[in-house]
């Protein structure tokens, strides 16, 4: 049964292409980018604005500037893609029953697109009253 393993590994490599390779590479690159973006985000919100001052008006004023909208959009995309792929790794590692595996990965994928779309929708369409 194990002799077919080499053949199966080769077949698997062919079928899946470079997806895992790019996923791994994305995790490294986005990790570095997130480190900088999240630190800047925290610095801005905590020290420049101050947590006690954050309210609707502050966010509305901030989004007057399209650069902040782009910043927040990228923060959303990088953070959630990085996090969702990490959750995919956990499912791959720990969930072995094929049914559960497919179910959880499907739920994760739907959740991923739902939250990305909701966030992007707000960022693009928000108008200060």
């Amino acid at each position: 049964m194990f002799e077919s393993l080499a053949a199966r590994t080769a077949h698997q490599a062919e079928r899946s292409g470079n997806f895992e390779l790019w996923a791994w590479f994305f995790m490294r690159v986005s990790g570095v980018i997130l480190l900088l973006m999240v630190l800047f985000h925290l610095f801005w919100m905590h020290f420049v604005i101050g947590v006690e001052n954050i309210n609707f008006a502050v966010v509305a004023e901030r989004w007057e500037n399209p650069l902040w909208r782009i910043y927040d959009l990228f923060l959303l995309i990088f953070a959630w893609t990085h996090g969702a792929n990490g959750m995919r790794y956990i499912i791959e590692d720990y969930v072995h029953a094929p049914g559960w595996r497919v179910t959880l990965k499907t739920v994760l994928l739907l959740l991923y697109f739902a939250l990305i779309s909701m966030g992007a929708y707000v960022i693009f369409t928000f108008r200060a009253p």
Partner: protein, 232 residues
């Protein structure tokens, strides 16, 4: 000095479940754990089963879990693990009896990376020459003795036996970075599978477990790097 050796025993013909055997052994602190196992087998309980061959850290037969770490029983001194020594079979491979595990899944992964020289070019009249610098690239990974301590210390392998595992990647590394070999592309393709090198989560257990002190996680990273750069 007297030490207590706790051994996870299992005989599939008699035991429904593995059980812990406890043995009091009189040993010197400079004896090895292997000596304690010998003492138990020779004078206390002849049914104790374990693998060992050279007894000098070269053959790789007596890898086992000693006080929670994968070690060669012939390379661990009593004084470093006394007074209570817990010995278990390697994790992640089926137990055949006591400390003997079925190594076949391990060797199947080993064979999957084609661990032999691939070169169809006509051989030169004498040796295929290599500079010291070219040799240095894979010098570390030539030291592997296939004891399976690394692969069976890897949580990614415990969770998913299909993962090719650190030892097989080390063996692939040994040929991928060998200037005389021409099979790098094929081997990298095999390791690019989802159960190939990408299942490594950089946990570093393999590096800690290796009795040959190979920097395994680094070797895995070099393979990942070679794959990424072959695509960029």
């Amino acid at each position: 000095m007297e030490v207590t050796v706790r051994i996870k025993r299992y005989d599939p013909e008699k035991d429904g479940e593995p059980w812990w055997g406890e043995y009091k052994v009189e040993v010197d602190e400079t004896d090895r754990v292997l000596d304690a196992l010998h003492y138990i087998k020779w004078y206390q309980d002849g049914t104790l089963t374990f693998r060992r061959s050279c007894g000098h850290g070269i053959c790789g037969s007596d890898a086992m879990r000693i006080n929670g770490y994968n070690r060669l029983a012939c390379k661990v001194l009593i004084r470093d693990v006394a007074p209570v020594i817990t010995v278990e079979p390697l994790l992640g491979l089926p137990v055949i009896k006591d400390l003997v595990v079925d190594m076949e899944p391990f060797f199947a992964h080993y064979r999957a990376v084609m661990p032999w020289l691939i070169n169809d070019e006509p051989p030169p009249p004498r040796e295929r020459l290599q500079s010291p610098e070219e040799r240095e690239l894979f010098d570390d990974t030539t030291k592997c003795i296939l004891c399976a301590a690394c692969t069976t210390s890897c949580p990614a392998f415990w969770l998913r036996g299909e993962y090719v595992g650190p030892a097989a990647i080390v063996q692939a590394h040994r040929f991928i970075f060998d200037s005389r070999d021409r099979g790098a592309v094929q081997r990298l393709e095999i390791l690019n599978a989802p159960d190939g090198v990408w299942r490594c989560r950089t946990i570093f257990n393999c590096t800690n477990a290796c009795p040959r002190e190979i920097e395994i996680t680094k070797a895995i990273a070099e393979v990942k790097k070679a794959l990424i750069f072959s695509r960029l």
